[in-house]
C-alpha cells in the first residue's frame, strides 16, 4: 500500500482510542456503581452502624463561646488550616452560622428571638442520598457502608462538581497549599495538598478505633451520635422525644444531622 506509514498511524490512533475506552466499557458492565472499588478493613474496636447520625441540641449551645471548643477540637484533630485569612479560600469542616443562613427555608420575619440569636453548628450532613456522591466523576467521594460520605484526597481531581452539587455549602476546596496554614500539625491524620476538595468525615478515623467524633466529645453532651437505624440508639431516643429540624429537608437528600431547637 502506498500510504502505508500514514495508514499505520491512523490505525494506531484509533487503537489508542479503543484502549482508552476499555475501562469505560468495563464500568458499564460491572453491576455496582457504588463504593470506591476497594475494601475497607475493620478493626476490633471499630464501631459500626447502618447510618451514623447526629442530633445537635441547640438549646445547650447558646453562645459562640459554647461552640468554640467544639470547632477547635475538630480543626486540631483534622489539620484544618485555620490560618487562612482570605475568606474566599477558607477550609471549613464544622463552623458557626446564623439561624437564617443555616435554615434558609425556615427563616421568617417573626421568629423566636431566642432561637434567632442562637449560634448554629454547620457541618457535612452525610446525606442518605448525597448529591455530591452522584456528581463525583471519579468516586473520590463515596458513601461508606456506615453511611458516612467519605473523601479520598488522593483520587480527587479537583473538578469541584461536588461543591456545586452540595446544597449545604459543606465542602471546601484547597485553593492553595494548606500546610503552611495549619497551626499545630496532628501527625495521626493526613494533611491535604492543594487542588483537592475536603469536608467533615464524621470522624471516620475515630469511629474505626471505637472513639466518638471529636465534636461530640467536646460538646459536653450537647451533641449526640449514633445509628439512625438502631431504634435503641441515643439519637433515636432523642428523635422520639424531641421535635427536630433538618436543613433543606424538601430537597430529598435526607440529611443525617438533626437539630433540636
Amino acid at each position: 500500500m502506498k500510504n502505508s506509514r500514514r495508514r499505520f498511524l491512523q490505525i494506531a490512533g484509533v487503537s489508542a482510542l479503543g484502549l482508552g475506552a476499555k475501562p469505560v466499557l468495563d464500568a458499564f458492565a460491572s453491576e455496582s456503581a457504588h463504593g470506591p472499588g476497594y475494601h475497607l478493613a475493620k478493626g476490633e474496636d471499630a464501631m459500626d452502624a447502618r447510618q451514623w447520625a447526629m442530633v445537635i441540641d441547640t438549646r445547650k449551645l447558646q453562645t459562640a463561646e459554647d461552640l468554640e471548643p467544639i470547632i477547635e477540637a475538630c480543626n486540631k484533630i483534622h489539620n484544618v488550616p485555620t490560618g487562612i485569612k482570605n475568606k474566599n479560600h477558607e477550609i471549613k469542616w464544622i463552623w458557626e452560622a446564623h439561624y437564617h443562613n443555616a435554615f434558609t427555608d425556615k427563616a421568617g420575619q417573626f421568629t423566636s428571638e431566642e432561637v434567632e440569636h442562637r449560634p448554629f453548628l454547620l457541618l457535612c450532613n452525610h446525606c442518605e442520598n448525597p448529591p455530591c456522591v452522584r456528581a463525583c466523576p471519579t468516586k473520590a467521594t463515596f458513601k461508606n457502608d456506615n453511611g458516612i460520605v467519605m473523601m479520598d484526597f488522593h483520587r480527587c481531581i479537583g473538578c469541584r462538581f461536588c461543591m456545586a452539587a452540595c446544597p449545604f455549602g459543606a465542602r471546601s476546596f484547597n485553593f492553595r497549599d494548606p500546610r503552611p496554614f495549619i497551626e499545630e500539625e496532628n501527625k495521626a491524620f493526613p494533611t491535604r495538598m492543594k487542588g483537592v476538595v475536603e469536608k467533615c468525615n464524621f470522624c471516620a478515623e475515630r469511629l474505626a478505633v471505637g472513639k466518638m467524633p471529636a465534636c461530640v466529645e467536646a460538646s459536653n453532651g450537647a451533641i449526640a451520635f449514633g445509628d439512625l437505624y438502631d431504634e435503641h440508639s441515643e439519637v433515636r431516643e432523642l428523635l422520639k422525644e424531641n421535635y427536630t429540624i433538618r436543613r433543606k429537608q424538601t430537597l430529598g437528600t435526607e440529611p443525617s444531622v438533626y437539630y433540636i431547637v
Partner: protein, 386 residues
C-alpha cells in the same frame, strides 16, 4: 492536505506567530497556576466555578452550533451548504479542543485527569460529558478530514462515512444537552434547576455558533479568493435570527416562572443578576448590556433588508456573540452560585492571570482554526480552478 497550511503570505505567518506568542504567555501563566494552585483565580469557596467553566460551557455551544450547516446539507440535501460545511466542522473541532483545555485548566489536580477513565463513574454527568465531547471531536475530525480529502481528489466521500455523519447530528445536540445536565440536575441550585436549561443552551448555541461562522465567512470572503457565498451567508443569518429569538423567549419563560410563582429560591438569582442583591451588583451592567445587545440583534436580523447588508449583518453577529457570551458565560456561572446555599453573597470577578490563561486557550483555538481554514480554503480554491 496539511501542506496547504504551510504556504501563506506574511500576514498569515505573522498572525500565527502572534497567536503562538499569546499561547506561550498563557501557558507560562498556567505553569504558575499549577505551582501556586487555583487561588490565583478569582474563584472562591462560594463561587467554585468561574471563567474557565463559563467559557467551556460557551464553547460547547459554539461546537454544537456547527450542526446548523451539517444538518441542512446532509439531511435535507441543501446543496448550497456544501461550500461551507467543512467550515462548520472545523470550527467545531477548534471549539471542542478549547473546551477540553478549559476543563483541564480548571482542575485542581490536572495530573489526575485520567482518573475519570481509570475509575469511570456512570452516575456522574461529567463522565458522560467526557464521552460526548471526545466523541464529537473524533467524529468531526474523521468526517471533516475525509470529506475534504475526497473533495480534493474529485471523488465522492467514502461510504462508511455516511453513518458517522448521521450520528454526528444528534451527537451535536447531545454535547450541549449533557453540558446543561451538569448544571440542571443539582438540588439546591435553583437558578440552574430548570428543565428548559438544555433547550435554552441549544437555542443560544444555534445562535452563537452560526453567528461566529458568518463572521468567519465574511472574513474569508474579504481576504481570500474563496467566496463562501452570499446565499450561504444569508441562510445562516436566518438560522441565527430564529435561534436568538428562541433564546430570548426561553429566558423570558424563566423570568415568568420565577416572578409569577414568586418563590424566593428562584427569584433571588435573577434579582442578583439584573438588580443586585444586598448591595452587590457587579453583573448588573453586564446583564443589561446583554439584554440590549440581544434585542438589538433581533431587530437587525429579523428585517430582511438589514440582514441582507453584510456590514449590518456582521454587527448583528457580533452582538449575538456578545449577548450569548455574557448570558451563558458570565451570567450562568455567577447567577448559579450567587447567592450561595446559605444565602450569603460572595461576588466573583476573574483575575488578570485567569483572563490571560483564558485568552491563551482562545489563541490556541484560533491557531488551530487558522491552520484548518487555510487548508480548507486551499482545497476549495484548488477544486474551483480545476
Amino acid at each position: 492536505m496539511l501542506e496547504l497550511a504551510v504556504k501563506g503570505n506574511k500576514w498569515y505567518w505573522g498572525w500565527l506567530v502572534v497567536l503562538l506568542g499569546v499561547i506561550g504567555a498563557g501557558f507560562g501563566l498556567y505553569l504558575m497556576q499549577l505551582k501556586l494552585g487555583l487561588g490565583i483565580t478569582g474563584m472562591s469557596r462560594d463561587v467554585s466555578w468561574g471563567f474557565y467553566i463559563a467559557n467551556f460551557t460557551y464553547l460547547v455551544g459554539v461546537a454544537a452550533g456547527g450542526v446548523m450547516v451539517v444538518l441542512p446539507y446532509y439531511l435535507h440535501d441543501y446543496k448550497a451548504y456544501g461550500k461551507i460545511t467543512i467550515l462548520g466542522e472545523f470550527l467545531a473541532i477548534a471549539a471542542i479542543v478549547m473546551c477540553l483545555l478549559f476543563i483541564l485548566v480548571d482542575l485542581g489536580q490536572p495530573m489526575r485527569a485520567f482518573n475519570v477513565l481509570i475509575y469511570p463513574t456512570p452516575n456522574s454527568v461529567l463522565f458522560y460529558d467526557a464521552i460526548v465531547l471526545n466523541g464529537y471531536l473524533f467524529l468531526n475530525l474523521v468526517i471533516g478530514w475525509n470529506v475534504l480529502e475526497a473533495e480534493r481528489n474529485g471523488v465522492h466521500y467514502q461510504g462508511w462515512l455516511k453513518p458517522l455523519i448521521y450520528i454526528s447530528i444528534p451527537w451535536a445536540v447531545s454535547i450541549h444537552t449533557v453540558t446543561a445536565y451538569l448544571y440542571c440536575g443539582l438540588p439546591g441550585r435553583h437558578f440552574w434547576l430548570t428543565a428548559i436549561l438544555a433547550p435554552r443552551f441549544l437555542a443560544s448555541a444555534f445562535a452563537a455558533g452560526p453567528a461566529l461562522l458568518i463572521l468567519l465567512c465574511l472574513f474569508i470572503r474579504r481576504f481570500t479568493n474563496f467566496d463562501p457565498g452570499k446565499e450561504q451567508i444569508q441562510a445562516l443569518a436566518k438560522t441565527v435570527a430564529y435561534a436568538i429569538c428562541l433564546n430570548v423567549f426561553f429566558f423570558l419563560c424563566e423570568v415568568f416562572v420565577a416572578f409569577y410563582s414568586n418563590i424566593p429560591g428562584h427569584t433571588t438569582h435573577l434579582k442578583y443578576l439584573f438588580a443586585g442583591l444586598h448591595g452587590h451588583g457587579a453583573l448588573v451592567p453586564w446583564m443589561w448590556a446583554a439584554m440590549i445587545m440581544g434585542f438589538t440583534a433581533i431587530v437587525m436580523l429579523l428585517v430582511p433588508r438589514w440582514r441582507a447588508r453584510h456590514g449590518l449583518l456582521g454587527i448583528a453577529c457580533v452582538l449575538v456573540f456578545g449577548c450569548t457570551w455574557i448570558d451563558k458565560g458570565l451570567g450562568m456561572m455567577a447567577g448559579g452560585f450567587i447567592p450561595n446555599p446559605l444565602h450569603e453573597v460572595t461576588e466573583y470577578a476573574p483575575t488578570g492571570i485567569e483572563i490571560m490563561i483564558t485568552i491563551g486557550i482562545y489563541a490556541l483555538g484560533a491557531f488551530l482554526l487558522t491552520v484548518f481554514y487555510k487548508t480548507a480554503v486551499g482545497v476549495k480554491l484548488e477544486v474551483e480552478t480545476e
